[in-house]
Symmetry: C2
């Protein structure tokens, strides 16, 4: 078992209500609020060498908004804790980036704090409303469900490789720095789907999504590689590359047919594990502590 | 103007809805939820030399719970983001500390993430409910209000000094590591007070509370030093020492008389500024960036 999974096991054995954990969001049914919280750390999640404060601010909110969209909820509020050796220029550019996201997604920043630290740390907690919406869960996939997606896979990983190889700007790099999200189709699914569905964002890669849904829902997932939308030629990036924030959805066939814009890439079957072109994938989830 | 205030000015000029900022908590009236978020950073807010993971975990939640209690709300949920060069022992002891707070305050941990970083960073977002309660605001103090408090002042600063001088354990050190909170009286005030009131916790010191309330409410605050509950003999610690998390309340006299357990330390008057024994205090707020 990898380190991260061991930590998560310790945590769920220690906390009083571990049933809130396990999806990208916690669901507070009393309020119909989905909550997610993530930290981005300099030189772990981003580098000041490649990204400016405006871009870092946008991405730190986008990756959190993506978790809410993957839950089927509508993002409404966020808190932002910013730490670093800050100066006025950094704070100004950073909050201009935050403001650009406030406007694009119609969310409100309701609090947070500023503290001093050596490395920049950004901690975002985001609130989504699922009032009158049908939220997703990784446990919801069923036999005969369609495996669908929105967006593309591998572009962000290709962009990061391009940055390291000295390229400054191209399509892939833009996808890496400023990932495209899919609020319209997330909302359409949450409004339209009659049956329970499983949706995740591909923050840790396509195969990671499929493996998590397969495990939590006890289904086999079969994918046809050629159906997976991708622009990079690197197959490893397409399957395992993280930070695309595309949506992966396992959904009932009737619901699938009622929702325009979904791309079918496979099927849920009886059994377990993920298969690409009938070949079983031996997948170990990404360990953030190795 | 100090750096932190400059940053806060930039932020409130940039964000779409700066009216959520300015109190310890943001108030979401639609949900009757008070939200607060704070980060604790190794070697800025705590030192592994003096505190173990269990104590660090408790304190990181306690300081956030204190913000909710200062708002008059009841703490119900929290998310915790933990970063560091973690190992299983650290994670185990840390979450045992978290669990001890879950039990003491009847709150639920609903999410968060684990990431790798050089220094330990703990980011907590806490949710309090003020359903059927009258929440506080720094803007609510009025002429002739009583200035009251619960708890004591200067003990945590004395404890920190004692730690640095090589003492390992005494009353003050315990107050510093494991601050006492006042959920019962916070709840009593929020249930009982008929008029608006201003309440803050003394996280940045007694004078800081008084100065903030005085500025935001446009009142003069007069305090009698001898009435301030304290155990340390260091007057600077009593007035300016942070991290006690005692409550400072400006409240209508009738409401004050109806609430048992409040200690009167002064009065709100027409005018501005804070006076201790009739001497005006020239106060600059603590700058976390100097």
């Amino acid at each position: 078992m990898n380190k991260e999974l061991k930590f998560l096991k310790i945590i769920s054995n220690t906390l009083k209500n571990p049933n809130y954990l396990g999806d990208d969001c916690a669901y507070l049914d009393e309020y119909k609020l989905a909550i997610s919280s993530d930290s981005l750390i300099e030189d772990v999640h981003f580098s000041m060498q490649f990204m400016n404060p405006y871009e870092i601010a946008r991405k730190s909110l986008l990756v959190n908004i993506s978790d809410i969209l993957a839950s089927g909820a509508k993002p409404i509020y966020a808190t932002i804790n910013l730490s670093g050796c800050l100066d006025e220029t950094f704070v100004d550019e950073f909050y201009k980036g935050i403001n650009s996201i406030e406007n694009e997604f119609d969310i409100k920043i309701i609090g947070g704090d500023l503290t001093k630290s050596d490395k920049i740390v950004i901690s975002v907690t985001i609130f989504g409303s699922y009032k009158d919406l049908n939220p997703s869960s990784r446990k919801n996939a069923k036999e005969n469900y369609i495996v669908a997606c929105v967006g593309e896979f591998g572009s962000s990983a290709q962009g990061l490789e391009d940055l390291f190889s000295g390229i400054y700007d191209n399509y892939f790099i833009n996808q890496h720095k400023n990932p495209k999200l899919y609020p319209r189709i997330s909302s359409l699914i949450a409004k339209t789907a009659k049956k329970p569905y499983a949706m995740m964002d591909s923050s840790d890669g396509l195969v990671d999504c499929l493996a998590q849904i397969s495990q939590k829902s006890n289904v086999r997932i079969d994918i046809e590689y050629d159906k997976i939308p991708h622009k990079t030629k690197n197959k490893d990036f397409v399957l395992y590359g993280g930070e695309d924030y595309s949506l992966v959805i396992c959904i009932d066939e009737d619901d699938f047919n009622n929702i325009e814009g979904l791309i079918k890439i496979g099927t849920c079957k009886k059994g377990s594990s993920v298969y690409i072109d009938n070949e079983k994938i031996e997948y170990k989830s990404f360990d953030h502590f190795e």
